[in-house]
Amino acid sequence: MMSTHQRMKSSAEVVRAAKALVIAVAAETAVTIGHFAYGAHIYNDPGRLHVVEPALVFFVVAAAVTALFVWRPGKLVLAVLGLVVTAPYLALFGLFHGAYSHLLKDALFLAGAPDETLEWLFMSPDYVRPDDFVFEASGILGLVAAAVVGYWLLRIFRDWRRPAGDSAGASTQGGPARLVGLALRMLFDAPFKSLGTLVGVVVSVFLMSQQSSLLVGILGRVTSFVNSSGVDIWIASVATESTDATDTVPASKVGAAASTPGVAWAAPVVQGLGRVTRPDGVREYVKVLGVEPPRYAGLPRSLAPGTSPSLLRASGRLFLNWNDRKTFASAEPGDRVEIDGKASVVAGFFQGMDPHSPYYYVYANIDDARALTDFPLDRVTYVAVGVAPGHRVRDVKANLEARIPEVLVRTRDELSAMEERYFLVRTPVGVLFGLGTIVAAVIGAAIVAVTLYSTAVDRARDYGTLKAIGARQKDILQLLLVQAWIFCAVGYVLGMAAFFITKYHLPELHLVSPPQMIVGVAAAAFASCTLASLLAIRRVLLLDPAIVFRT
């Protein structure tokens, strides 16, 4: 039998591990906050500070649950402790941020992966080229801290278990039961309920994917003006909240920027509003963007076949968005477009830019744009800046800020982030789609919870039999979790398949599928299925195996 001495020793070990866990969690919190604060400073991105508050909340919760566990150890508290530590510290800060966003990014960067690949894998605005050692090292340090947290959490799980007693030679040791096959086979005992559960997961995964994809897609469209031009740094008025809410700066800033160290070129961009008359007579607002030959900085890099930037050199020409072609009666080069009573000729089309905006976008040369929108000759909206080879964007930005202090200087990623924040704050879209995603996850979890619980009730005798003939609690736990994870895995594959079918058959929805969304939905589906199985697990774990003797 286990002695009292053994129990006390075990408790002391758990207390020691719990203290170490709290210290490790505090360290990871500090590393995370320090990392993001440093990032906010060097990249001039206050948005990164938004991590501070949740990180502090995570720490308080983790520390409180650890204290509760030391005070009142129990399986439920241990499970909650596992969740509040694993989700933020191991999964989010450790694996996602440390391993994925920094370790993998840096490894790919050092391996010479192209910028396009890196930007695709590590989306803006979070993505920045790994150009600061302290920032990258502190990011990876988060992974190390997470490993320490994980170690102490495992120690608690291990030490908390009572050492196996020697009651009648019984031992809980031995090979682990291999119950995956059994879990799978048991699902076929109630095929309709299993099918219902699966449908719930599929619908949930599809809705989560679709909602988050739409949001990411809209955010991508919102920032497409900034991201499609190839401009490294944008200079604008300090009174700028987004490209839809800005003022002008003196045209003299173009020269000042051009003569700044590290600047390869600087060019003016003007932006004015007009009203375009559609072929059907409807007048709508149009954003006229003027770019200067010969560089045409600010013009989207992707132009339709047959369209060349030099076509804007001649007066009275403009480029339409290829996506707006149908609205303008399938416009062709040579067609006339009237803006505020002034006629222009369609010279070509630009692509790769689909702003989520109430305005049409057209490009003209800078003189025509001024004329069309009555834009002052001595002002510009933006100074577009290209960074010279061998110079770091961050350094050049700092040079520009020092040389032209009275303007706003933003890198492409920073301006893109501003656009996103402005959009999310000024419209309900973010809240709506965020809520939609959460509701989808909750609906899926509810369906899985109800069906798994109902199945557990229906099959109480089977589970009772398993317990009676020797299934340990951890065997039952494994069995039910595996069942939940089978639903999760199959439902995820089917749900994502449905999502991708929708994406490719309905391109007008502008669904996008960045890796973060695919991984995020998988994590959400895993979490919701796992949480949903807890009710059934509790029901079965509390089941009296003596039920098998009742007829």
Binding site: S167, R461, A468, G470
Partner: protein, 256 residues
């Protein structure tokens, strides 16, 4: 307290009793009693419905914790064992045979028989080999691929016996094993249990079927929660004296 361990006793209940509920709602299901199950014998526990015989079996089977007394397996008390330790003891030391067979419907006879081995973490090849052996012992090897719905009641009970045997458990506890079977099939099952006892296992049968009496070495009556040995029926036979009784039975091959 130092006690002498009698190796012929496979399972022993010392002053075991059980009360369900507390306070005014407390119901005594079993008054404190001593029960032993010896290797090589069939102990029959008889009594009317609600008498407490299943409570007694549940306690002896380590499924139910007694509120009084203690259960000893191979002479060692299990009163301080954890739930998981009890589960392991049930898995390795006790084989259960139920009135309703309790086979998992989606599994074949072979897979059902192999469940205790699966819970023990054995590799697939060994599981199949040992489960096949157990099915051979009960004469069900040719039905190894059949799911329970394709088997008769007697066949299902034989698969359940194979499941109880597969871990080479020294104790078999049977709850009304013939209640769901016709007379001839029930006699066949009882004969099988008799032979298993003769091969050295301890067999306890809870029943109210009087046909079982002819297979019993000892009899315990349970009435209104009070267990009493029927001395007139007792003729305990040590396991080592029974080897000649096995005859040509397949049960000579029960080393699993």
């Amino acid at each position: 307290m130092l006690t002498t361990f009698d190796p012929s006793i496979a399972l022993e209940g010392r002053v075991i009793g059980r009360v369900f509920g507390r306070g005014d709602l407390a119901v005594r299901a079993l008054y404190p009693t001593d029960v032993t199950i010896r290797r090589g014998e069939v102990l029959v526990i008889m009594g009317p419905s609600g008498s407490g015989k299943t409570t007694l079996l549940s306690i002896l089977g380590l499924v139910l914790t007694p509120t009084e007394g203690e259960v000893l397996v191979d002479g060692r008390s299990v009163s301080r064992a954890t739930a998981d330790e009890m589960a392991v003891l049930r898995r390795d030391r006790v084989g259960f045979i139920f009135q309703q067979f309790n086979l998992l419907p989606s599994l074949s006879a072979l897979e059902n028989a192999a469940i205790p081995l699966l819970l023990s973490g054995l590799r697939r090849a060994e599981r199949i080999s040992r489960a096949m052996h157990a099915l051979e012992i009960v004469g069900m090897a040719d039905k190894r691929s059949a799911t329970p719905r394709l088997l008769s009641g007697g066949q299902q009970q034989r698969v359940a016996i194979a499941r109880a045997l597969v871990n080479d458990a020294p104790v078999l506890l049977c709850d009304e094993p013939t209640a769901s079977l016709d007379g001839a099939t029930g006699r066949g099952i009882l004969a099988t249990l008799r032979e298993l006892a003769q091969s050295g296992r301890a067999v306890a049968i809870v029943t109210h079927d009087e046909r079982v009496l002819s297979f019993a070495d000892r009899l315990v009556h349970v009435i209104d929660g009070r267990a009493q040995a029927d001395e007139a029926h007792g003729h305990a036979r040590p396991a080592e004296t029974q080897s000649d009784d096995i005859g040509s039975s397949q049960l000579q091959e029960t080393t699993l």
